[in-house]
């Protein structure tokens, strides 16, 4: 991979729903191995942006480049095929099914000659993956229902890490978690950098944003207020960018 070409490049993205402008002139480059946090008040357009990148919404105008190549996703499946995975707030796990079936949900492995499910391989790959990422669950065969919120989030993130080849979008990954579980999930997110993936994370917790991110991008009412290097800014500046009030 060319080190200078961004994994994802958004240029002048504009999105309107009918007459309502949701995103106005948004531009951002994401590099491999980089975590960028997207912050802003409710209704600032964070989720809309995630949906545009993941192929759920089409931008009204603007340009999306993946590895330098201009791209238009027809739907979420086509974005997924291009190596973009989303971890949703509600995790999108089937709770009565075992961990390994969730890991391969919609992309189950089969074996010849009858095309039956290859549960042995799925279980094995899943176990290797959760071990590698240190997601502590009893086993790959555990039912999701029997796992804690943090374990479930760990599985949702591990699943995205398994399938993403370029980019992971995280939508409030720790919103429903306790302190210890949040720390564990943050560790997991940080470890994804080593897989050379680009990560875009939405978070309401500025503490978390400062712990995890390399850069911070602030949205307010659909407008991009600015992008700062995390090491070169502080909470006061970010808060005033979010609220539009000088502090």
């Amino acid at each position: 991979m060319n080190g200078t070409t961004p994994v994802l490049s958004l240029k002048n993205i504009h999105k309107a729903f009918g007459g309502v402008v949701a995103i106005q002139d948004f531009s951002l480059d994401l590099k491999a191995g980089e975590i960028v946090a997207l912050v802003g008040d409710n209704g600032a357009g964070k989720s809309t942006l995630i949906k545009i990148i993941s192929g759920v919404h089409k931008p009204t105008s603007g340009e999306i480049r993946l590895d330098g190549e201009e791209t238009a996703f027809s739907d979420a499946s086509s974005a997924r095929e291009r190596g973009i995975e989303v971890v949703y707030q509600d995790l999108a796990l089937a709770v009565e099914q075992p961990v390994y079936m969730n890991m391969f949900l919609g992309r189950e492995l089969t074996k010849k000659p009858f095309g039956l499910l290859d549960k042995v391989s799925m279980r094995k790959e899943c176990q290797e993956l959760v071990d590698e990422l240190d997601v502590r669950i009893p086993s790959a065969s555990s039912t999701i229902r029997d796992l804690s919120g943090g374990q479930r989030q760990g599985i949702a993130i591990a699943r995205s890490a398994h399938w993403a080849s370029k980019l992971i979008l995280l939508d409030e990954p720790t919103a429903a978690l306790g302190v210890a579980e949040t720390a564990k999930v943050e560790e997991l997110v940080a470890s994804l950098k080593k897989k050379n993936l680009a990560i875009l994370i939405i978070s309401d917790s500025l503490d978390q944003v400062f712990r995890l991110s390399d850069r911070i991008c602030v949205l307010r009412r659909g407008q991009q207020i600015g992008v700062r290097k995390t090491s070169e800014t502080d909470k006061n500046e970010i808060v005033s960018m979010i609220t539009g009030v000088d502090s």
Partner: protein, 317 residues
Amino acid sequence: MQAALQKIKTIDLQQSIIYVGFLGIFLFFALTLHDDGFLTSRNLTNIVLQTAPATIMAVGLVFALSAGEIDLSFGSVVAVSALAAAVAMQTGPMFLGVLAGLGAGVAIGAFNGFLVAYLRLPSFLVTLATMGLFAGIARSMTDLRSIPVINDSFTGIFGSGSLLGVPSLVFWTLGAVIIGHVLYRNTKFGAHVLAVGDNPRAAQVSGIKAPRVRLMVMTLCGATAGLAGLLYAGRLQAAKYTLGETDLMTVIAAVIVGGTALKGGKGSIIGALLGSLLMGMLNNGLILMGLDVSDQMIVRGLIILIAVAVSLRDTSR
């Protein structure tokens, strides 16, 4: 050792209760009805033969419930399919009868499925309506008359025949259960059915086409009801609008008692088989006990109520 312990921990009470219940009731009848011939191989075979249509429909219903849908119309489908087959064979060959019977089942199932999957109408209401609709059609098809089935190869294959001493109905039952089990547990289709019933949104964002899955399970239900209709027509050597009329409660009870969740995402084909045999055993045992028909209905209703309550008790956790 630890793996073994883990395995024991993960055994699902709700899904294993059927084995205990099945054994318990079997032993109860075996002891109390020993002198009335409950344990004779002839009586036990009879139970299996009598439950064949219900077992096959139970297989279909496991798929529908697992996908978060339900089918209430299969009793009417049984009658329509049996009558369609019988009418077709009055002048045509067996092949035509089978085609008409199964075709009717598949067509009605697909009709239900289309309304459920693509118009997003609740399957409970759709199939409640089509249950009435096709019960009426079954009545009007032959003006309430019973149609004899005189095709010997048909009544052999779908009814009283046997191969190597094994009754053909046993083959149909085993075939449906084995194919159903593999389809349910070991194919992408089965996995997608469970995912759609478990968390439709998760299924959708994972690229699973939920409407197609819903159409398929409803069609499968129709197909199993169509096959059940052929088996009734074959065994009784006649078709009538009353066929399948009383199967609704039996089949739903068999499936629920067998460990399939009403709200989807979880189920068992083997459990449904045992549930169906359990219902057959109850029927049989109560008759042997000498209860009259009304008492049988009361006792059966109560036992089903208890069984369903026990199997559902921990789903709310």
